[in-house]
């Protein structure tokens, strides 16, 4: 414990170096811009800017990239409240009460509440990470291939059971991701597979290209189709409103705490920030005394989803740094970054790359404080970005996507693949196929397959290896429960109805 506090202070010392502080500010400003712009979100924003970090040290690189992520989380709230356009999926719930507040001329109040609760949510999650991550990593050091595979299994099963999309669509998109991930050189046997003699397929499909295409290009196509027109209320934040709102906020401490817990729980399981924000909003609506007035501009309706979304977005990094399993697409991109910088994600990071891990954790504390200050002071500037017409923004975003896609492998063919993924993403999104499991499957495919094959090799092909000891059986069983959760839930309500009916008859 004491050692961790020591490590954390060492991390703060690394973050406080002027170069790293500068990267932090740059990252947050870029992140807010990415969060405000339609078609650019946390995941593809980080993916596009990843190449800029190739020449930096891994610690500086992760500080900048994670700050882009915090910035994007903050930025989503600005457009939701002022323009009724959620810049990010997790800010959809913020529009319900945030936009009505802005229309009533209480934009300043709504923005302050949103930013402050984001900050509270993130802080709660970071403290949780500081305390829990080293323990998890320490525990995971004992994992063999079967245990590692079971963790992947649990992560992917949770997607099927917890996502709001139809389960078979989730399975189809996830498994297609795994299949795409296997194209190219087989890591175990060194054999080429699924390349069908095309030279361009030798290296397989890079998930960064998939992220930029699916989320970036796909999102622009959707925006074009919807024919967005940005009509927003003016954005001004004067210090008086900020302090007044801060005085008002502590009375919602119970709501905040509940939202933090929901956020952390949803963030660690790969369900992510979006369902967390909706769930938190829904529960707040049911419990609050003003529940019936939700949707007309209640400050609680802003606090609940923002706190949960930020807590979830931050805690998604816990499984990423301690187990090597990202909890969200953005965490997956950061994990991809680790591989590019030559670090091996997983429990060993805590023992072998202390500077990196604790620098990252310290930057989460600092980044959120700096982020809060930046968004509170610069809201009008960021809101002005959205007033630039889409016919200028769209080609600029396309250009940055293309640059991002090219720089991953210095390959122009990747730019073509980006467009293909973009069109595919447009159709999949429209047909309600979730994209996040596909991206995570492309990222983790290699590792999941390797763990699977090593386990089978050890057991000479018997699947019993996944139930060979208490730990691995527990994780696998949890995975199966998560996989069949919709069925279990349906069965449970069915049973309850039956017994309820019986009681009524008696």
């Amino acid at each position: 414990m004491l050692e961790n506090i020591d490590n954390l202070f060492h991390g703060f010392a690394i973050v406080a170096q002027p170069f790293n502080l500068m990267l932090m500010v740059v990252g947050i400003v870029l992140g807010v811009i990415v969060g405000v712009l339609p078609g650019l979100g946390g995941a593809n924003g980080v993916a596009i800017l990843l190449p800029l970090t190739f020449s930096m040290s891994p610690t500086s690189a992760i500080i900048m990239l994670s700050c882009i992520y915090w910035g994007a989380l903050f930025g989503g709230a600005i457009t939701s409240i002022l323009f009724n356009i959620p810049g990010e999926p997790w800010s959809v719930a913020t529009t319900f009460d945030g936009y009505p507040m802005a229309q009533q001329g209480r934009a300043g109040e709504a923005l302050t509440a949103a930013f402050t609760s984001s900050f509270v949510g993130a802080l709660f999650a970071v403290i949780m990470i500081t305390l829990v991550a080293p323990l998890v990593a320490n525990f995971a050091l004992r994992f063999g291939p079967a245990e590692i595979f079971s963790v992947y299994f649990l992560a992917f099963c949770s997607f099927v059971g917890l996502s709001k999309e139809p389960p078979f669509k989730t399975v189809a998109s996830m498994m297609l991701g795994f299949a795409l991930g296997t194209v190219g050189l087989d890591q175990v046997t060194g054999q080429l597979r699924l390349t069908f003699g095309f030279e361009q397929m030798l290296n397989g499909f890079d998930f960064l290209i998939a992220v930029i295409g699916l989320f970036g290009i796909g999102e622009i196509l959707l925006t074009m189709e919807e024919g967005l027109s940005f009509r927003g209320t003016s954005a001004k934040l004067n210090p008086k409103v900020v302090f007044q709102t801060w005085k008002e906020l502590p009375q919602y401490w119970l709501l905040s705490l509940r939202s933090c817990l929901i956020g952390c729980w949803m963030g660690i399981s790969p369900a992510g920030a979006t369902p967390a924000s909706f769930m938190s909003y829904g529960i707040a609506k049911r419990i609050s005394r003003h529940g019936h007035k939700f949707g007309t501009g209640q400050i609680e309706g802003v606090v609940a989803p923002e706190t949960a979304a930020h807590a979830a977005g931050t805690s998604a990094l816990l499984p990423m740094i301690s187990l090597g399993v990202p909890g969200s697409p953005t965490a997956a991109v950061l994990l991809g970054g680790l591989l590019i910088w030559g670090l091996q994600p997983g429990p060993l990071l805590f023992t072998e790359q202390k500077d990196f891990v604790w620098g990252l954790i310290a930057s989460m504390y600092m980044g959120n404080i700096v982020g809060l200050l930046i968004v509170l002071t610069c809201v009008p500037l960021f809101a002005a970005i959205l007033r630039i017409p889409f016919s200028i923004i769209a080609p600029v975003i396309l250009v940055f996507c293309a640059i991002g896609a090219y720089t991953v492998n210095n390959n122009t063919f990747d730019v073509v693949m980006m467009l293909v993924f973009g069109v595919a993403g447009y159709f999949m999104k429209k047909c309600n196929y979730p994209l996040a499991p596909m991206v995570l499957a492309i990222v983790l495919g290699d590792k999941a397959e390797e763990a699977f094959r090593q386990s089978l090799l050890a057991s000479q092909g018997g699947l019993g290896v996944f139930w060979s000891n208490g730990l691995v059986s527990t994780i696998m069983t949890l995975g199966l429960v998560a996989l069949f959760w919709p069925l279990i839930q349906a069965g449970w309500t069915h049973v309850r109805e039956l017994t309820g009916g019986l009681r009524a008859v008696k």
Binding site: T182, R193, M224, C431
Partner: protein, 168 residues
């Protein structure tokens, strides 16, 4: 689009047909995956499972899931929902076509010149901006990108005849 009128309503492809198309396409990709896996071997080799083992089963899962998705579409009644109106699809194609050309010319013109052309084309055709403004934005952005990538972050991007002429 903030600066073109939105054409809502009207005819368009049905949601159902597009759903069928997407599910069928996924199944097709997976069948190709199965074929490729079988070619490299899906059984048990000297080093444990062969290279095609894992891709075979994940592709199989895609085929099964897509079959279920297709069956669900056919089992439900056609609600008559539109996927998108033709006007909306035209807007989408107005992005896809220029981007496709852009992507195709990058290897020949370099990314900077191609980007400038893309921005100018977008602003004049879709945004109806005067040429002067379009060219101004189209010139400034690639120059800024050039400075940022080639000078400050030392990341080389594809260059074409113009850059060669200027001595890079």
């Amino acid at each position: 689009m903030s600066d073109t009128t939105r054409e809502s309503g009207g005819a368009g492809p049905s949601h159902r047909s597009v759903e069928i198309g997407v599910a069928a396409f996924m199944a097709l990709l997976a069948l190709i995956g199965i074929y490729g896996s079988v070619r490299v071997g899906i059984g048990w080799g000297a080093e444990g499972p062969k290279a095609g083992f894992f891709p075979f089963y994940v592709s199989l899962a895609v085929v099964i899931a897509s079959a279920v998705n297709l069956a669900k579409i056919f089992a439900s009644a056609d609600g008559g929902d539109l996927f998108a109106s033709w006007g909306q699809l035209k807007q989408v194609l107005a992005v896809v076509f220029p981007t496709a050309i852009y992507v195709a010319v990058i290897p020949y013109l370099g990314i900077y010149v191609a980007s400038a052309l893309l921005i100018v084309a977008f602003m004049t055709w879709l945004g109806h901006y005067p040429w002067i403004r379009a060219i101004a934005v189209g010139a400034v952005l690639p120059i800024l990108t050039f400075l940022m990538f080639e000078r400050w972050f030392l990341v080389p991007l594809p260059k074409g005849p113009l850059e060669k002429f200027l001595g890079y």
